[in-house]
């Protein structure tokens, strides 16, 4: 799915827009009234964060819960356009409901929150298991 809702905060959605061959992730804070790209500090000034699948599917490549407002962990890549090659995938975190992002771990991960987001577990889901991560 190229469209999804951020859990726990009203009006917040993320969508992937394909335009002139460029696929970019955009976020709205006002139920679609205005959209803006996902901001991340990077040496490439024009680059933004683009997410694989900004909907909570079975693999949880986009993870937010109403019990941890503002906290999102998602899989994607930083660039001018979404790159769906497995080697380009990294895991990113936002604490401000998707406005700004930072790199959390290399590779794609399953994610789980417990105890209102006090603890976050991450497991690499692309490679065979050799790592489990948790963050709190």
């Amino acid at each position: 799915m190229e469209f999804g809702k951020v859990s726990g905060i009203d009006g917040l959605y993320i969508a992937n827009r394909l335009q002139n061959g460029v696929k970019q992730s955009l976020i709205t804070f006002n139920q679609g009234g205005s959209w803006s790209p996902l901001l991340i500090n990077d040496s490439c000034a024009d680059c933004t964060l683009n997410l694989y699948s900004p909907s909570s599917d079975l693999k949880d490549h986009f993870y937010s819960r109403h019990t941890a407002p503002g906290l999102i962990i998602a899989t994607g890549n930083v660039g001018l356009s979404l790159n769906k090659e497995q080697s380009a995938a990294n895991t990113y975190l936002s604490r401000d409901a998707g406005l700004t992002w930072k790199l959390l771990a290399a590779g794609s991960h399953l994610v789980g929150f417990s105890n209102f987001g006090s603890l976050i577990l991450m497991v690499d889901d692309m490679a065979a298991i050799d790592s489990v991560q948790y963050v709190n």
Binding site: G8, T67, P69, L99, L104, G112, F116
Partner: protein, 146 residues
């Protein structure tokens, strides 16, 4: 005997720094790589437990599953305190306003959440649910057309 190696990375400041530790498990009958399928949590309880469902092919080539439990209870040595006075240094909680790129009024409401601070190594007692405060925003000149 094939052992699956788990590298556990953890952080007490919500990803600013990540530490690692490892454990090794023997998954009986696994003849292929083990893949992570799903993480199960109880997000609204005081528990800091996780279940991890993994899959692999068994000796007959059929899909098999293995379930692992993770228990972080002993990692947290204290409960979070200070939900009555968020943002103060002595509080483990902070206010959060999802302002977006412009102002704090979203769909006519200015909503503030009280949530656990990132860099505090405490667990949230069950009695303290997610707290939200709402203020109705007044229309400004920008909300009208001629």
């Amino acid at each position: 005997m094939e052992l699956t190696f788990f590298l556990i990375r953890f952080s007490v400041d919500q990803g600013n720094t990540i530490q690692t530790c490892s454990l090794v498990e023997n998954i009986a009958g696994a003849t292929s790589s083990v893949h992570a399928e799903r993480i199960y949590t109880e997000p609204t309880t005081t528990q800091t437990h996780f279940l991890l469902l993994t899959s692999f092919a068994d000796i007959n080539g059929k899909s098999s599953y293995s379930l692992f439990g993770f228990n972080f209870t002993t990692y947290f040595t204290r409960q979070c305190v200070g939900i009555e006075y968020p943002d103060k240094p002595a509080s483990d909680y902070e206010t959060f306003n999802p302002s977006g790129p412009s102002d704090s009024c979203i769909l006519g409401l200015d909503v503030t959440y009280i949530r656990r601070k990132a860099g505090t190594a405490c667990f949230v007692p069950q009695t303290e649910q997610v707290i939200t405060q709402q203020r109705i925003c007044n229309c400004s000149m920008a909300d009208y057309v001629w």
